[in-house]
Amino acid sequence: MLDCAIIGGGPAGLTAGLYTTRGGLEKVVMYEKGMPGGQITLSSEVENYPGVAGEITGMDLMAPWPNQCEKFGLVHDMAEIVRVSKKDDGVFVIHKDDGTIKEALSVIVATGSSPRRAGFAGEDKYIGKGVSNCATCDGFFYKNKEVVVIGGGNTALEESLYLAKICTKVYLVHRRDKFRAAPNTVKRVENTDNIELVLNSTPKEVYGDAMGVLGIKITDINAQERDIKAPGVFVFVGNNVNNSVLKQEDGTWLCDVNEHGEVVVNISMHTSVKGLYAVGDIRLAAPKQVVCAAGDGAVAALEAISYVDHKLYG
């Protein structure tokens, strides 16, 4: 029986792991299918993590976190979790993708979110063949070529700046005439010569051949079509929360979730189920920042410690 099971190994899960183990819980397992680090490891630059001055990649920012946790006894199990359920006696059951289970007194869900699809024709077909959600991973394949970026938020603009350094030209396609990104980032994009802003426009169809994408057709608000012949299309249109572990076999949710699928929590990260906490991007009103996810993880860990202490010692 585990004291605490942590589902997910991004900043929220890792911080929960650090605080639960350092705070005295002995049997804590963090489930993450591979090397921990989370979605931030896709980011080409992080400038707003307190105490880390200058530009750093998301991968470098996260590199030391797992070791710090393991020093205090956090166990990392490289399994994907299919589902978390709860027995009548209040014990949680963790269902792993190899079909085995593990029981836990408390659970911290930190499964984060995944890049959302923009929804244009050919997007799924060409994922990995020209359509990408990671500029740091795949920008390299478009060195000295033209690429298209879809989106208007911080990620879309930051990754456009990154791609503009590698590629000859970046077409930034956004459905509105204004960006949601930080004003400073917008200014940097506007001042970059090889970024062309394609505003009030939506992607319609990506096309290609057996080797991958050849171009993308977009339409503006006046129904004018434009064909951009670029082999790379990077999509940054927000995220969907990874809440499938909370879905029960009968289709109900283990705890309350809102209409967006985000887990409802209070200020202490308690869900509607005792002993179950949700942290980071998966919770409602998540600011989707590394520092906030880490803070959530610490809060939930402290709550889990007192919950488990009470269970074990009354």
């Binding site: 490891t41 998301g58 993708d97 994922i127 020209g130 991973c137 057996a210 082999p231």
Partner: protein, 106 residues
């Protein structure tokens, strides 16, 4: 502990021509590649003598990446007797890789 095979232009064809072979296309700057790195290492040990577990550093071996139309990493290609039979784009769980390998070995 068995180690994965590092593939280059000089040993790619020779290594993949026979049996079941998993090839992980990766690069040092890629977060999701780093994520599956420990999984690939474990697979190399688990499948020692049964399947070849290999890696291609796309930064150094661009010709191989171009030959297979790799445009996203990590991409994992599966070969059986020299023929590419399956591909997986993005980070996946160890179980997902095992399922693919086991079905090819069956």
């Amino acid at each position: 502990m068995a180690k994965y095979i590092e593939l280059t232009a000089s040993n790619f064809d020779e290594t993949t021509k026979e049996g079941v072979v998993l090839v992980d296309f990766w690069a040092p700057w890629c977060g999701p590649c780093r994520m599956i790195a420990p999984v690939i290492e474990e697979l190399a040990d688990d499948y020692d003598g049964k399947a070849k577990i290999c890696k291609v550093n796309t930064d150094e071996e661009q010709d191989i990446a171009v030959k297979f139309g790799i445009r996203s990493i990590p991409t994992v290609l599966l070969f059986k007797d020299g023929e590419m039979v399956d591909q997986m784009v993005g980070a996946a769980s160890k179980q997902a890789f095992e399922d693919k390998l086991n079905s090819l070995l069956a």
